[in-house]
Amino acid sequence: MIDGLATAIIVISLAAAAWTLVPAARDRPIGWSHLAALAVVELALLVQVVFAVVKLAGGEQPRELAVFIGYLVGSLIVLPIGGFLGAAERTRWGAVVAGVACLVVPVLVMRMQQIWQGTVG
């Protein structure tokens, strides 16, 4: 995987989490700016998936390929689900949902890094 991109995604997702947790702290529902933050993270994740697919197609493969692909797919669906549920709940708890979704992303990315670095050969 690309370490720089992974680090960038972790930073962006943590920033997005902080931004979505502001309305949670202020007892407000999320607004467009928070969904936009989620969208930015999702975009970065999409870029990562493209790079990963290119690398996989180029013959570079982690030993646990199935697990890696599972995480890759998982990384793309967490934010849409979190964003949808978060926007539907018009209380501070919607913001908590969106914030938690953002916090799941760095965990997934770090796990993907670990799995990728287990590459044989």
Partner: protein
């Protein structure tokens, strides 16, 4: 606390929505993990992998029950989940040979930041809170 006054009757609303989301994430995580384990190397640790699958099913039931306000099912799922994480957590520490590969519940869910241990407790507390909200003033 301010939230208490606004506590909704529905278990899927408010904080319940956040709970549903976290449960959904764990359904996905446990389900994907056990799916891969069972499909690729079931003979290595059948017990651990079957427990992974069981955990995934329980998370799925809990997610659905919380989302659809099925209180009794949700209580049962959270209770089974708590019993599961405590049992598997203890067994995985006491008899690590039986658990050569990790499940969501191994070591009390340490691999998942102990969320698997905390989640059913929060779930049961939330269910109790909403139960009293429907009856109380």
């Amino acid at each position: 606390m301010a939230e208490r006054a606004r506590a909704s009757r529905a278990i899927s609303a408010g904080p319940g929505r956040a709970l549903v989301f976290v449960y959904a994430v764990f359904t996905l995580a446990a389900g994907a993990r056990s799916g891969v384990q069972i499909a690729t190397r079931f003979d290595e640790a059948p017990l651990a992998y079957l427990l992974s699958a069981l955990a995934a099913v329980i998370y799925l039931v809990a997610t659905a029950a919380l989302a659809r306000d099925a209180r009794r099912v949700a209580v049962a799922a959270c209770a089974v989940e708590l019993a599961g994480v405590l049992t598997v957590g203890t067994l995985s520490l006491a008899d690590s040979a039986a658990f050569p590969d990790a499940t969501v519940w191994s070591d009390y869910g340490a691999g998942y930041g102990f969320v698997p241990l905390v989640l059913p407790i929060i779930g049961l507390l939330w269910l109790r809170r909403t139960a009293s909200a429907t009856v109380g003033p």
